[in-house]
Amino acid sequence: MLRLEKLTKTYKTGDQALKEIDLEVPEGQVLALIGPSGAGKSTMIRCINRLVEPTGGAVLLAGTDLTRLGAGALRRARREMGMIFQEYALVERLTVMENVLSGRLGYVGFWRSFLRRYPQADVDEAFRLLDRVGLLHMADKRADELSGGQRQRVGICRALIQNPKLLLVDEPTASLDPKTSRQIMRLITELCRERGLAAIINIHDVALAQMFVPRVVGLRFGEIVYDGGPTGLTPDKLTEIYGEEDWEATIEKVEEEEEEDDADMRAAE
């Protein structure tokens, strides 16, 4: 459904952030993109919806090459791609509801959005999504009154109300504590399954990625150095992606924590 062909990004400084990336993401597949800081994960996600302009190659979404679209067509194409951000990127002085409804901006005209008079169907869907993530009672709160985990859930609603085919998720858990991180990852992967959405999730926490996704792509210096299942990430592979480190110790420890945490969550529910 999404295909990257020789996708390249060279910054003006001459830094090659992406080197001819080829990647195919089938319908409904959730994929984690791992790699060290500066490997090009964030650039790759932003080249797909052209928040960053790629310098070469093609991005094919359901057969359309997004890199060749004009301004208007690009706007329409962006509606098909929901994005979830590191640090949430909610508009802090707007209410939760305005933030969620801003996901519909690509569909409604300027005056409707300016006067905040969204079609009833959009408003109903916003309520439904907020209820799904457990934040219905927060609808009229200002976004900056929410905690980190709550903000990210609002961010998820904003992406989903676009009714996208694809989710682009940029470090969704980078500023969250370990427990909230898992809840957010679980929520994202559950929602993708419910709606048959494909997703690319940038994440630097390898253990978290392994826990929740069926496919992991490893990026290093703008090149794909690993593409396979989460269990295939052996210490050798991780060393290839990140460089030398004692992988056995870190991985096992985190998995133990996860089991305890799961037990906690079940007890809480």
Binding site: A77, F85, A89, V91, E92, G106, S113, G155
Partner: protein, 272 residues
């Protein structure tokens, strides 16, 4: 105790913050040179102490007038002057702010393309370079005496002030919030309305209130060059040596400025 490490050299040595100017010679000559210039500059200011002594009397008469301000004998002049100033202030502020917003958007490098940016920054620079009094003199020459010249002057000055500060606030905004709105497929106007406006609104309101305040004070000055308002009344009072009436006018101006100051504080606190 085998090998010599770098750390061993550092231990026991004192530590000072590195000076801003590295070279000691340059550092001292800059400091001494500035001090010498300051002394020389003060020595060139000529003070005629006899003249100051004579002037003290006149100044004292002026101060005394404040103890007996005369609101009544010229009340109708004062009232019409005040009204004219308030009309000028409100009209010029509204027009100026409305024009400043698009120019401010255009003068923000992070949202405007280069040609628009250059044009808008040019407008801002022209407006800021020309001092209000000079603009007022020019506009009085074109439109004649009266509040129209004052209104246009204040509108023009508001544009330079507000556009520049608004543009700087937009340039300092959080990019990710705006980026998230763009990623949803919003149009440019929607992007401004959702991604940019909420971030700069408190500052825009605060600056606008501050500008209303400045415009009122300026309107008192513009009268001196014939651009109408309470300044014209004040000027007349001085010309007639009616210091008690002048004092009444100044007290009113001070009162109104203080009221505006208080109001803007209340409004700014509410829009945070």
């Amino acid at each position: 105790m085998s090998q010599h490490r770098e750390l061993d050299d550092m231990l026991g040595r004192g530590w000072r913050k590195p000076p801003f100017v590295r070279s000691a010679l340059l550092r001292w000559s800059l400091g001494l040179g500035f001090a010498a210039y300051l002394v020389a500059a003060y020595l060139t200011i000529e003070v005629d102490w006899n003249r100051v002594y004579e002037g003290l009397d006149r100044g004292w008469a002026f101060v005394l007038a404040f103890t007996s301000p005369d609101f009544l004998s010229r009340w109708s002049d004062i009232w019409s002057g005040l009204l004219e100033s308030i009309v000028m202030t409100v009209a010029a502020s509204v027009v100026g702010i409305l024009i400043s917003i698009p120019i401010g958007l255009g003068a923000a490098r992070n949202i405007a393309p280069l040609p628009v940016y250059v044009i808008c920054r040019g407008i801002v620079a022209v407006s800021r370079a020309l001092q209000e009094i000079i603009v007022a003199i020019l506009l009085v020459a074109i439109f004649g005496f009266g509040p129209l010249a004052g209104f246009l002057t204040l509108s023009f000055a508001t544009i330079g002030f507000l556009s520049k500060l608004l543009a700087e606030d937009i340039e300092a905004m959080d990019r990710s919030q705006a980026e998230a709105i763009r990623a949803s497929g919003a149009r440019w106007m929607q992007w401004i309305n959702y991604g940019v406006q909420p971030q700069v609104m408190p500052r825009l309101v605060g600056l606008s209130m501050y500008r209303v305040d400045i415009n009122f004070r300026e309107s008192a000055i513009l009268g001196l060059v014939g651009a109408g308002g309470i300044g014209a009344t004040l000027n007349t009072a001085f010309d007639r040596y009616e210091y008690d009436t002048a004092a009444a006018i100044l007290i009113l101006i001070i009162g109104i400025v203080m009221a505006l100051e208080y109001l803007s504080g209340v409004i700014r606190a509410r829009v945070q």
